[in-house]
Amino acid sequence: MQYLKLESIKSKHPRLSKLIDELAAYIEGELDQGRSRVVPSLAARQLKLSEAETLGLLAMFEDAGLVSARYEVVCKKNNVVLATAHKRSELKDLLPIHCEFCEAEHEADDVSVELVFEIVPQAARDAVA
């Protein structure tokens, strides 16, 4: 069933079949290593694509329900994820945010925001099975 989702992406974008398969394999690899999210910059490096190309492919996967975008608020000093939001409009309500590692309230300048894609586990597994 989910395999059909991957096939449906490829049928919509036949020229991108190779890249779609590579990203699907990458996602499967991440799941195998116990990771539940795809960081576009890391995936781009692995797949030897630009970050924009990777984001474009991930957007297609998201439309198919294989991944789901979210924003992570990361403490710049300790590089730890402090909170996540599914919509960017929710980010402003998170600030100022308390960081247990720094024992401080962080404002926008103290944190970075990363766009990542949460893997929908079963859907992704089925898609690459």
Binding site: L16, A52, E53, L58, A59, K92
Partner: protein, 133 residues
């Protein structure tokens, strides 16, 4: 008044958006380019609601200023009308300043500076008007 905490995202996030957007424009495959641009816009999309609120408020204020200009030129002499228009612009700038502050775009210090400078302008206008009168 609360601090301007609605400053939403670190500047680096927007820079990243710009960078991704520029990369997206260079993608040769049209489908992938379209998807990449759509994805790059995620770095900007959340503030649309707020920007729209701001835009509507600015349009309303602009209409009020435009109305004041028309009315002033119809009812008053040229120089009085010019003074009224300058005052109106200054006053509405102050309102925009308050609006920007309440939306969290500027700090209290910036707002106070705007008010201070605006009052200076208003004082000069009224001084000139007193001299003319």
């Amino acid at each position: 008044m609360p601090s301007p905490k609605k400053q939403f995202c670190p500047k680096g996030f927007y820079d990243k958006g710009k960078e991704v957007f520029a990369q997206a424009l260079k993608i040769e495959d049209a489908d992938l380019r379209h998807e990449a641009i759509r994805a790059a816009l995620r770095y900007y999309s959340a503030d649309v609601t707020q920007d729209r609120r701001l835009l509507v408020a600015i349009i309303v204020l602009f209409v009020l200023v435009a109305g004041t200009i028309v009315l002033a030129f119809v009812k008053l002499s040229f120089f009085s009308a010019a003074a009224v228009i300058l005052s109106a612009f200054t006053f509405f700038s102050l309102l925009i300043g308050v609006m920007l502050r309440s939306l969290g775009y500027i700090s209290e210090t910036s707002l106070l500076r705007i008010w201070k400078e605006s009052f200076k302008v208003l004082r000069e206008i009224f001084k000139t008007k007193e001299k003319d009168g």
